[in-house]
């Protein structure tokens, strides 16, 4: 139970980082932490105590295996978060070229 709670604490740390930090690189790191926490949570959901790897073969009985589906979802989520992180970093580089700063409070040419 404690493991699950710690996982959600990690999610909250990431969220705090996104909401409170002013440096856009730190915001991107915060998003990374949130996504990492969710992937960890997926793996924890699939875990069975003393379970074995879910490999299906002729001489293997389908008992006491960890759930493979959350692992597949975590893999997909990792790929998606890679794409998002890459795009955010690329944007951060271009923003630095235009604004000369990473401070989100100084990047405010849009008003209203």
């Amino acid at each position: 139970m404690v493991t699950y709670l710690l996982c959600l604490v990690l999610f909250s740390v990431g969220l705090y980082c996104v909401v409170r930090k002013r440096n856009i690189i730190k915001i991107i790191i915060g998003i990374g932490i949130m996504e990492y926490a969710i992937n960890l949570f997926f793996i924890l959901i699939g875990y069975r105590s003393n379970g074995r790897a879910p490999i299906f073969a002729d001489d293997q009985a389908v008992v006491n295996m960890v759930d493979p589906l959350p692992q597949a979802m975590a893999l997909t989520a990792i790929v998606i978060s890679l794409a998002v992180t890459m795009m955010l970093v690329a944007l951060a580089i271009r923003i630095y070229e235009k604004y000369g700063t990473f401070d989100i409070t100084k990047i405010n040419r849009l008003k209203g």
């Binding site: 856009i24 998003i31 979802m73 998606i80 944007l91 271009r94 040419r109 849009l110």
Partner: protein, 496 residues
């Protein structure tokens, strides 16, 4: 049904392969792809409504839901497919002329079709995780497209949109994780059955909150609307039209409707939250739109306000209200994309989006001017346009369901909409000063064709109220919302 994904994906990668060839070839291919998508979506709607309240299920590799994944189209998704692909067709036509001023047009076309495939994927997905993946495909291509001009403002808007969108997606993904741990299935039908078996589980309420946060942010309902004005006013005009016209509706409103009405079973609490969010969006969007001097920002806040109407009608949750919601959603898609496309033409003519520097559009460019008037009239609810009827239906539905206060607010916001549109647009459209018109460039012919077609659709929308047409076009979507709890049984029943 696979074609809704195959065509746009194939088109997207063809654009990348044909990057070195002339624009003409790619314009023709993208036009053909968009036309075939629109035709297929209409055929699908006809098929879905022909077999009464039936669903069309296509499974993969012989694995059937709830174990395997499948594509499912019911009345609601068929109706949304038609809306999306119709708007996409006209946006493709328009951007063939408009995007010439940018370099690397093929990147735009490629990303555009990726976004279409993501949106279509959300509409046909029948399990939570596919829904999430397609949602991310659509969202990531939208982040890129907002930043397409790579000016300082566009990068800033794109970054803020991307951060907020990613946080929303993180909440949705966390909700999916909790939901999977509770129900041990990802298929929407399977989840619906598991929840119907144990309705009062506290985890479902927790997941509802996570989903509502995530999807309301995608739908830009107040108080989650902050990104919309940035992103929609900075993007290139065809992309603003897609974002405002269909993206927020599919990723936000459709996903909310699908998950809360078909899967979780609409509880009174969720309906009240939707009403509250809807009323807040209607009023806040209307107030913020007042006094905007930037034409695209005015349209963006008006989108927040109009999405509020749809959310309100979903929350009222009577058959008439659902009809109003679906019809208003369609009208708003058509009209708002028309207005955003025109804002692109106006920006091209005057090289500014500042309303105080724009005047005499009707005299200089009659097509842009008159279609803008038609769009503004439809959205502010002037008869005989579609916007009038859909708002009227929503107001009647509120009265019928015993919410006279909500009806009064809806009338008030409608008047407010008319006030800010006409206060802002009249000087720009009819103003005499043609000083800046010297620098006017001619609007490309195909852009005019596209906006005229959209204007005709906006004018023809009330025809869908005729009983014959209504039965063919809209009733399937209303039925899908009214009988939301029957979704699992219908989908699983259609397999056998």
């Amino acid at each position: 049904m696979h074609l809704f994904l195959i065509i746009p994906l194939a088109a997207a990668f063809m654009m990348a392969i044909l990057a070195r060839t002339g624009d003409c070839v790619r314009d023709i291919i993208s036009g053909l792809a968009a036309i075939s998508l629109a035709v297929f979506s209409v055929l699908t709607l006809m098929a879905a409504n022909f077999f009464h309240s039936a669903v069309i299920v296509k499974s993969f590799a012989g694995f059937m839901p709830p174990a395997g994944t499948a594509f499912v189209v019911d009345g609601l998704s068929a109706f949304m497919l038609v809306t999306v692909n119709t708007v996409a067709l006209f946006v493709v036509l328009y951007s063939a002329g408009y995007m010439n001023k940018y370099t690397d047009k093929w990147k735009f076309q490629s990303l555009f079709f990726l976004m279409i495939s993501g949106i279509n994927g959300v509409l046909v997905a029948s399990d939570m995780f596919n829904l999430y993946v397609f949602l991310e495909i659509a969202a990531i291509s939208a982040y890129f497209l907002v930043a397409f001009g790579t000016e300082a403002e566009e990068l800033e808007a794109s970054f803020k949109y991307a951060v907020m969108g990613t946080v929303a997606s993180a909440f949705i993904l966390l909700g999916i994780a909790f939901l999977y741990s509770h129900t041990s299935t990802l298929s929407l039908a399977g989840i619906a059955q598991a929840i119907a078996a144990a309705p009062s589980a506290r985890i479902v309420q927790f997941v509802s909150v996570l989903f509502l946060m995530g999807f309301a942010l995608k739908a830009a309902l107040v108080p989650f609307h902050a990104w919309l004005a940035y992103a929609h006013s900075s993007a290139p005009a065809p992309i603003s039209a897609m974002l405002s016209g269909v993206l927020i509706k599919v990723l936000g409103i459709y996903a909310i409707a699908r998950i809360f009405f078909s899967v979780f079973g609409a509880s009174a609490g969720i309906c009240q939250i939707l009403i509250a969010l809807g009323v807040l969006s209607m009023i806040a969007g209307g107030v913020l739109a007042f006094g905007q001097s930037d034409i695209k920002r005015l349209f963006a806040y008006s989108t927040v306000s109009q999405i509020g109407y749809v959310a309100l009608a979903l929350g009222v949750a009577t058959p008439l209200a659902f009809f109003g919601a679906v019809f208003h959603l369609f009208n708003h898609s058509i009209v708002k994309s028309l207005l955003f496309l025109n804002s692109g033409s106006i920006e091209q003519m005057f090289r500014t989006r500042d309303l105080s520097k724009i005047s005499g559009v009707v005299a200089g460019a009659p097509v842009t001017g008159y279609t803008s008037i038609m769009g503004a009239m439809s959205i502010s609810g002037v008869p005989p346009f579609g916007g009038f009827w859909s708002k009227l239906i929503i107001i009647f539905a509120c009265l019928q369901a015993g919410h006279p206060v909500l009806a009064a607010i809806a009338v008030l916001v409608s008047v407010m909409t008319m006030a800010y549109y006409f206060a802002a647009m009249t000087p720009a459209l009819f103003g005499a000063g043609i000083n800046s018109f010297n620098a006017v460039k001619k609007v490309h012919g195909i852009m005019n064709v596209s906006v005229m077609a959209l204007a005709v659709l906006a004018l023809a929308a009330p025809l869908a109220l005729l009983p014959e047409m209504r039965q063919r076009l809209i009733d399937g979507a209303v039925q899908a919302l009214v009988n939301g709890s029957a979704y699992a049984a219908t989908v699983l029943g259609a397999i056998k």
